[in-house]
Symmetry: C2
Subunit: 686 residues, 2 copies
């Protein structure tokens, strides 16, 4: 099916025949770490430890600098350096900590492999804690996982014992994380299972922690708030109840006894049916602080999620702010409020959550989603760094111009005892870890942005492509022009393309229910929570479409700081890409493009489809530069994505046309699916 | 979902609001006969009869000429006129027969409604017999029917009695046929059921014949060759056996007793498992002549099908010629050999069957397929007249230049006792008769071409569109420019588009097995007749693709007359549209376009997809000019067609690419389906 063999009739064929022997099949398992070193190196280091041993080994196996060079690894206290920071020179890495040395080694090797300049530099991470959240269930399934089952947990019938295979995989996992600066992993789903805190499971957590430790990766656990009553034999889990307090203290002690560097707890409480302090008429602060007190002696932290919304009539986008702002200042200093990037739920585009920058007396950490729950699972090629960059660079104005989300969370604006950032993992047992070869770039990008929240998406893509696809012997200018450039362009456009063909102009939450994959703007069965149905969010009717969150609507705009609040409140100044997030907009509203809203919507969806088709062409053209395995895998996925994009376009345009009653502009390619069929098929899948 | 109401924001909307009240929903049941007359007329006719009464009624109800005019209907013998012919003037129709008068009336009314010139003209039909073949089974199903069940037959459990509803429907059917000149109907499937010749079924045939008679439509039956042994109690059906001969004579007598104008028999013998004279070591001539002798006294004819091919290794395309040519001159004069237009089986494009013009001492009639077995069923908009026009105008050279198929079959070249043409009907119980509103145009076009085989597709489309879609009050220039012109263009392109996205460049028989709808170039299970599998026909391998029928191959070219044989035999002079029919062609063979075969194939498939997308645009644009019912029905079908075209393109390009090993040119839109999935889905449907 692929065309890169025996192409004997073209010049391209001749080129291919020269290149082909250099390309070998790649299953994607070695990620961005597939390159071997090219020369010997002397490593000088006065100390020894498991972590330093790894640092030395990586240098020796990955060295691509001058052959026979000497590299000094120096551990000494330097106030210019944070815990994981390091000073980098061509032949020297200096750090306060062993993990700092290891990060320095990965930085040095990466620069060698990508051809980046290595000059004297002091490099510190943006966040103290850079954490993957695994939504892995103890039975081995993964909520919103699209790359196979859990690497940590197995079906209940299986033993919890740690195997050699486990250790190998966890080592590879830890190394990949360390290589991009990730230093923490929450091992289980935020929809937590109470049995995770029982001895047999904790024993396995210890096994995992032992493997992850040398790579500087701490383990954390999601815990069920009602654990005391569910597994502790107590009658309550009231956070102010002395027995409950004692239970948690004892549990924490038990954990630290076997995992001395345990990171802490992640808690989803009073959210989507999870138990929490409000069940006992206590506040989120009461609950979080109780746990924080238990963890404090060991240096552990509580990451308390702000993703809460009740069944009230209040605009769902407003509720987290409404619940948490009154508690600002009431949390212990080892509590961090973990806030999803947007106020609803990881949609292709959301404005930043208004809690960022607003909670001035509380540590706040961003949570982004690496797994593509709403962005085409592991079928669509969507490079997420541009979304995260857009988010991190959003100005909250909370402490004046330049109070970006990044600066409001990394300690630049507010003094925080702890800083952190979390990404919901896209990792599973699939050979290539992430299902889609390009989904690896999102794991990579999360780590890189967590390390340095000022990096550009372009720079990260550049690194990742070079590390992941560049082969020895590839002539540089040729490869740069014909592979690196077009593939990078594709990656950088891919998130906007997904927005275009899924939810342009601020549309959100109009996906198919449950699986959150295809379109489902129509879905609104009786007896379903309204704020789980697309019509709640798009509010299409004969007069227009969009959620009125202006001052005359739900007034969500007022949760933002001026001048942003006013900008968003005015339909004429609200950015077009968030228009329908904040405004129920007439179908004939004229946008700055000169088009009506309806026409603009048509062009956006159509542009999305065209962009994916262009990605297909881009990918097909680079065939001579990539091994057949990855070429074909990605080609096949792009075909599916292209077809899906068309389905999204057809479904949304035909659905909304019922309200707009306006024709799809005649220069746009027509739908090829009928709305009735799409709805029927969607319903069949449920 | 449709957009032609309440379009309050555009100028188009205003136009629509003016037009809309004039458009009323149309279910398609009244076909091209939906227009009522506009003025009174005096009809003068000295005679009376059921047929003449119909002629008068049609004139009175359909008159759109000068109000109060007088029209004379004159029956008198005129040697310039054939049986159904007539002389037309603005106010007079003269004919030898009553049916001639009726045809003249329909011609006059049609010209009034379409605005065609009415001047003094003598008009004779090209063929004496213009016959629909209904592949209807006695249980009411229809082989290759895509418009519901049979209008003639019902499930076996139902009574055979004729109801008022039957009569109404048959009357409408007869009238539609008469209005386009069709004067015969074979009421049952060529894969005949012996019980059709039993008394209860013949009684129903009589009921049908009684309704069809006044409209000049004769009834015929497909008969099973083994009827004498199957229902006659005889031990054999050997055509030379006296008892068998007597049985058929008696049966024919029985039929004519109740249906005095019965037309005759259609026979599929020794073909695809049907019994025939060869079962008794007799020839096709022996079989046909035996029946012809029985029918002769009553003026009946035998239409004996040449669609035969054995399981031998002989090229299937050659076999009909091989079997029938040696019998030329051996058939009775009331036998007509019914030959499918192409030598294989109603493919989107075939060369004409070499039997046309070659059988110089035998009457030969063309059989074309109106039902779209291989052309997208009643889902695809494919106007077939261009295919038939191409076929009828093909030069056989059998009696010198200009010996077109049309002239070789209509009596212009050879003296034939009888001339005829058959079309396999696309009619069923669907409200709009044909499933697809545009499929009506194929019924219409068949009738018109059977009447006048020199008509152009363009002229027929012009008539049909005006009769079928034009509404009173439509401003002429506006309607002509914005509806007639684009819709006609779409129709005229539609068959070539289907060829492009299904089987371009002479590819044939690569459809999905059984249902003959989607693509299935891969289908070749073990233990299946090779000449039923696509690989038998496309013969793709690493060196090229196509069936070598040149002199060094199967030598099918030699069945054609010079200079055609030599032209087809030479890969450099064989027309590109038949290249792979006649030549196994190297993938890198350069065509006159300058492209390699592989590239040309890619562009053809892609062009087909683009053409259908253009049809969608065309149709969407004409929305203001058509009622919402038909607009939406056709819009929905075009969407499906567009998606199907993409599937065809993807399936065929990805399948053949396995052999060509060449890339799809990079300016072509990429496949969005994966070959494995397409094959899997295809197999699932079987």
């Amino acid at each position: 099916m692929t065309a890169n063999k025996n192409m004997k009739y073209s010049v391209l064929g001749l080129i291919l025949m020269c290149i082909s022997p250099l390309l070998h099949a790649e299953d994607g398992h070695s990620l961005w770490l597939r390159n071997k070193g090219k020369g010997s190196v002397n490593v000088v280091c006065s100390k020894n430890s498991p972590t330093l041993a790894l640092a030395k080994q990586e240098l020796r196996e990955g060295w691509s600098g001058n052959a026979g060079a000497t590299v000094n690894l120096i551990l000494k206290t330097d106030k210019a350096l944070k815990a994981d920071g390091f000073k980098l020179k061509e032949n020297q890495i200096q750090a306060n900590t062993e993990s700092g040395i290891l990060y320095g080694v990965y930085e040095l090797l990466r620069r060698q492999q990508t051809g980046e300049v290595i000059k004297e530099e002091t490099i510190n991470p943006s966040y103290e804690r850079r954490i993957l959240n695994h939504w892995d269930n103890p039975n081995g399934t993964i909520e919103r996982g699209y790359a196979g089952r859990s690497i940590f947990w197995r079906p209940s019938k299986d033993s919890l014992g740690v195997t050699e295979k486990d250790k190998t995989l966890w080592t590879e996992y830890a190394r990949a994380n360390a290589s991009v600066g990730i230093n923490g992993a929450v091992l289980d789903n935020v929809n937590a299972d109470q049995k995770m805190l029982t001895a047999p499971y904790l024993e396995r957590v210890k096994g995992i922690a032992d493997i992850l430790r040398p790579y500087g990766v701490k383990t954390y656990l999601s815990v069920k708030f009602s654990s005391p009553s569910m597994i502790g034999g107590l009658k309550t889990s009231d956070p102010l109840n002395p027995e409950v307090i004692k239970w948690w203290k004892d549990k924490v002690k038990e954990i630290y006894k076997i995992i001395p560097d345990f990171g802490g707890f992640l808690v989803k409480a009073n959210s989507e049916g999870q138990p929490g302090p409000q069940d006992y008429k206590r506040t989120h602060a009461d609950g979080a602080n109780m746990m924080a007190d238990a963890l404090k002696p060991y240096g552990g932290i509580v990451m308390w999620r702000a993703f809460v919304y009740s069944t009230s009539d209040e605009d769902r986008a407003k509720q987290a702010y409404g619940e948490f702002m009154p508690l600002d200042g009431q949390f212990r200093d080892n509590v961090i409020i973990q806030v999803k990037n947007g106020p609803v739920d990881f949609q292709p585009r959301e404005p930043f959550s208004p809690l960022f920058g607003a909670m001035k007396k509380t540590s706040v950490m961003p949570e982004v989603q690496i797994t593509q729950e709403y962005l085409g699972h592991s079928t669509h090629l969507v490079y997420l760094a541009p979304m995260w960059e857009e988010f991190l660079k959003s100005d909250t104005y909370q402490a004046g111009v330049g109070s970006t989300v990044a600066r409001c969370t990394d300690g630049s604006v507010y003094s925080q005892k702890h800083t952190a950032i979390a990404g919901v993992s896209n990792i599973g047992l699939d050979t290539n870890w992430c299902g889609h070869d390009f989904a690896q770039s999102n794991w990579y990008a999360f780590g890189r942005l967590a390390w340095d929240n000022k990096l550009t998406s372009e720079q990260i893509a550049d690194e990742w492509i070079k590390l992941t696809f560049r082969n020895e012997g590839a002539e540089s200018a040729d490869w740069n022009n014909n592979f690196l450039k077009p593939v990078k362009e594709m990656m950088l456009l891919s998130r906007e393309a997904a927005v275009n063909y899924m939810m342009p102009l601020g549309l959100h939450h109009i996906m198919s229910a449950n699986e959150h994959y295809g379109p489902g703007p129509w879905w609104a069965p009786a007896r379903t929570r309204k704020d789980w149905t697309p019509p709640y969010f798009h509010k299409a009717d004969l007069t227009g479409v969009g959620f009125d969150r202006s001052k005359t609507g739900s007034n969500a705009v007022s949760q933002y700081h001026e001048p942003l609040a006013s900008q968003l409140n005015d339909i004429n100044t609200c950015p077009a890409e968030l228009l329908l997030w904040f405004h129920h907009t007439p179908w004939n509203f004229k946008l700055k493009t000169g088009r009506t809203l309806w026409d603009e919507m048509c062009y956006k969806y159509d542009t999305g489809v065209k962009q994916v088709r262009q990605f297909q062409k881009t990918w097909d053209k680079i065939e001579p530069y990539v091994d057949a395995d990855r070429f074909t895998r990605i080609q096949n996925k792009l075909r599916a994505q292209s077809q899906n994009a068309q389905v999204w376009k057809d479904a949304c345009l035909l659905y909304f046309q019922q309200f707009s009653k306006m024709p799809i502009p005649y220069d746009i390619e027509r739908p090829v699916n009928n709305l009735d069929d799409l709805i029927k098929n969607d319903m069949k899948r449920r």
